[in-house]
């Protein structure tokens, strides 16, 4: 166990260093910050004497109309109830989280394919230590990206005389754990299928399924998508990290500390369960592609 922990730390450190020495993370973060600035500037430009009027900005007009049409006006109202930064955070952090998760899936598959993981496993590390190191690397980079984005948004808020509401800060751990569980699902996909491209395709398909179930379950009552999603979500929602993220958000919005922390805890448990499943699969199938 101690050897595995040590191997996990070494793998995480090595992968973290490699990620920091390659341009991908910086580009993803730069894109996230750029999007954040554009959205914040758009929000400020949408301001008139009675407050936020999305019709004054193309993006916000489209986004609020689309969200209102899909999920109802109450969704938009709640999303912007304490300012624009929650929506901006979700949109800005998406490139970083997706880059990290997709990068890990692809890398694990590639390293399996070329026999790099097999080579490591001949030494003191095993497959589980390897993918746990990868998850830790993703979590550390997500945490760093969230910290940088938060600092940048605080600066934007200060310059434009906006305020970052409590929902934003409550959502930071949710996004971090969401990123962790996405990484865990990425690892699971990599352990299930042999090829990197197939693992990536499976991961994207799984992500889209979770998004569709989430969108359907949040939709308004007349939506036919919602009715189909309700049937699907009864079985799928329990394994969807988005379901627990929404549970956490609902708990915070309703002033229920128990609901909020339960969502976080369940998100963490889901990640652990998915990683445990990956552990058993990799033990059974080995790390050879």
């Amino acid at each position: 166990m101690r050897e595995r922990l040590h191997a996990m730390k070494v793998v995480a450190r090595t992968q973290l260093t490699e990620s920091l020495l390659s341009p991908g993370v910086y580009v993803a973060l730069g894109i996230g910050m750029g999007i954040g600035w554009l959205l914040c500037a758009g929000f400020v430009r949408s301001m008139d004497s009675s407050g936020f009027d999305p019709r004054l900005n193309g993006f916000w007009d489209f986004a609020t109309r689309a969200l209102s049409g899909a999920f109802g006006p109450v969704f938009v109202e709640r999303m912007f109830s304490d300012g624009p930064f929650l929506a901006i955070l979700i949109i800005s952090v998406a490139p970083v989280v997706l880059f990290l998760a997709i990068g890990s899936v692809f890398r694990f598959g590639m390293e399996k394919a070329v026999g790099a993981v097999e080579l490591i496993v001949y030494g003191p590390a095993d497959g589980t230590a390897y993918f746990l190191g990868s998850v830790i690397k993703d979590a550390a980079l997500s945490l760093g990206a969230l910290a940088v984005l938060t600092l940048y948004f605080l600066l934007l808020a200060w310059v434009q005389n906006l305020v970052i509401g409590p929902f934003f800060f409550a959502f930071l751990p949710v996004i971090l754990l969401l990123s962790l569980s996405l990484s865990a699902f990425g690892i699971l996909c990599s352990t299930i299928v042999s090829h990197a491209a197939a693992a990536l395709a499976l991961f994207i398909a799984l992500g889209l399924l979770f998004c569709a179930v989430m969108a359907g379950s949040l939709g308004s009552s007349v939506s036919s998508v919602r009715q189909a999603a309700q049937v699907a979500s009864a079985a799928i929602q329990w394994i969807s990290p988005l379901y627990y993220a929404a549970m956490s958000a609902r708990g915070f919005g309703g002033g229920s500390a128990l609901g909020y922390s339960s969502g976080l805890l369940l998100l963490l448990i889901l990640s652990a369960v998915v990683l445990l499943a990956s552990h058993f699969i990799i033990r059974r199938r080995g790390v050879r592609a």
Binding site: V27, G30, D48, S49, V74, V159
Partner: protein
């Protein structure tokens, strides 16, 4: 002839739907609902095809079952009833089965409902049987008395205007002839202008003639309901599910925020965490209201059974205006000021210039019949105000949950310097890559490589 026939048939087909613009009426057994929505009663109905009624738990909700005609009205995209043609209430008792197989049988009761204005806002009351009839008669008498007074006033006004006109003409005539008109002038001056009767009604919503309703007041939960006739048979199509829900949170304070240049487009602030961002170009008028939080779908379906909503989300809904409070406003570095609630008159701009003017309403100087258009707390804003915090106070104490913040956003230039900070990660990347390249080059040049 062969060529003309298809053309004629085509034209006939095109014209065929033109006559079908009268909506098709269908006879249905519907539930008429007067549903309590927290501050008011919403009149709605459930079609025969609607499987669920949504009611606020622990409140009197009025239901009746009737046969009527329904039709689809495409202009508003909703079903409507044609009760003028067919409106046949079904008598019997409403059988409601709740959790734990509890069965309630609710009979029809003759009642009327109405609301009055009290210190704590609009108060709804339901009266039954003889008491209902007495209240309806009282309301009718009050209404009749008022209209009799208005009729008398109109007669007196007409007589007054006629006498003023006659005397005016007579005085002008006498003056034109060079005669004194002292008697006429004295009479003109002594004439008393009739005073319009004050519209003092005890009701906000007056009671209507008593009708038969099933009064449903049930605890939260899911129920099934059906109508059983007096002979014990079950009315076909009357089976419904009833969802009785309670508020998730109560006692919230929300604000209606009215900018002076767009008083027809007010905004609402519903939670203390919500910040009002404005550009500071105009003054604001705020009107506080109490609010409750409910499931979006349940509430929307309570107000209109045909509406849609989102069952995953909760929303704050307006209950009643908050009265008897003052507003404390604070600007950074300045002491708090207390703002009383004031009445304002809103006047539309004359001429081609669109817009409104909001001015304090003074009953003494107001035109006859003019009433206050708006009763609100005025908040004057200036561009230099970065933050204005405000909250309600009652008897000198702040009302919890009523705190809000107004922030005047700074305008954003087309490409501010701080936007370049978004490129910071790329700058860091360039530094890291350069350092790495330098480090990799260093040992190679030092060792010179294998020969």
């Amino acid at each position: 002839m062969r060529r003309i026939l298809p053309v004629v048939l085509f034209c006939a087909l095109c014209l065929a739907p033109a006559g079908a613009d009268v909506p098709l009426r269908v006879e249905q057994l519907i539930y008429s609902i007067e549903a309590f929505n927290g501050g008011d009663y919403s009149a709605t109905f459930a079609l025969q095809t609607a499987d669920t009624l949504y009611l606020v738990a622990g409140a009197d909700n009025l239901l009746s079952v009737r046969k009527t005609l329904v039709y689809w009205w495409p202009i508003t995209s909703e079903w409507k009833t044609d009760t003028d043609t067919l409106n046949e209430p079904i008598a019997g008792s409403l059988e409601i089965r709740g959790p734990g197989s509890v069965v309630m049988k609710i009979g029809l009761r003759k009642l009327t409902y109405f609301s009055t204005e009290t210190v704590s806002g609009e108060q709804w009351k339901i009266l039954y049987d003889d008491e209902a009839d007495r209240e309806v008669a009282r309301a009718q008498k009050q209404s009749d008395d008022y209209f009799a007074a208005v009729t008398a006033f109109q007669k007196e006004s007409a007589a007054y205007d006629a006498r003023v006109g006659t005397l005016g003409s007579r005085i002008a005539e006498l003056k034109a002839q060079g005669n004194a008109a002292a008697v006429e002038t004295a009479e003109l001056q002594s004439l008393q202008k009739p005073v319009a009767p004050a519209a003092t009604s005890a009701y906000v919503t007056a009671p209507e003639p008593a009708q038969d309703w099933y009064v449903v007041n049930i605890p939260p939960g899911e129920y099934t309901a059906r109508l059983v006739t007096n002979d014990g048979s079950i009315v076909e199509g009357s089976d419904k599910r009833i969802v009785a829900y309670s508020w998730r949170r109560t006692g919230g304070i929300g604000y209606e925020v009215i900018p002076s240049d767009k008083w027809t487009r007010p905004e609402e602030s519903k939670t203390p965490a919500s910040v009002l961002y404005v550009n500071g170009n105009t003054d604001l008028y705020v009107r506080p209201f109490s609010e409750n939080e409910a499931d979006d779908l349940f509430y929307e379906k309570t107000v209109s059974n045909q509406a849609s909503g989102n069952p995953s989300l909760f929303k704050w809904v307006r209950k009643a205006d908050v009265s008897g409070a003052s507003l404390g406003a604070t600007r950074p570095g300045q002491p708090s000021i207390e703002i009383p609630e004031q009445a304002f008159a809103v006047k539309q701009s004359n001429g081609s210039d669109l817009g409104y003017t909001i001015a304090p309403y003074d009953p003494a100087t107001a035109a006859a019949g003019e009433t206050a258009s708006l009763v609100a707390f005025p908040l004057s804003l200036q561009k230099s105000d970065a933050i204005v915090s405000f909250g309600l106070q009652s008897a000198g104490r702040p009302i919890p949950g009523s705190e809000r913040q107004i922030r005047i956003v700074r305008p954003v230039s087309s490409f501010p310097a701080y936007s370049l900070l978004a490129l910071l990660p790329l700058a860091v990347m360039a530094c890291v890559l350069a350092l790495r390249a330098r480090r990799l080059r260093g040992p190679r040049s030092g060792h010179g490589g294998p020969r």
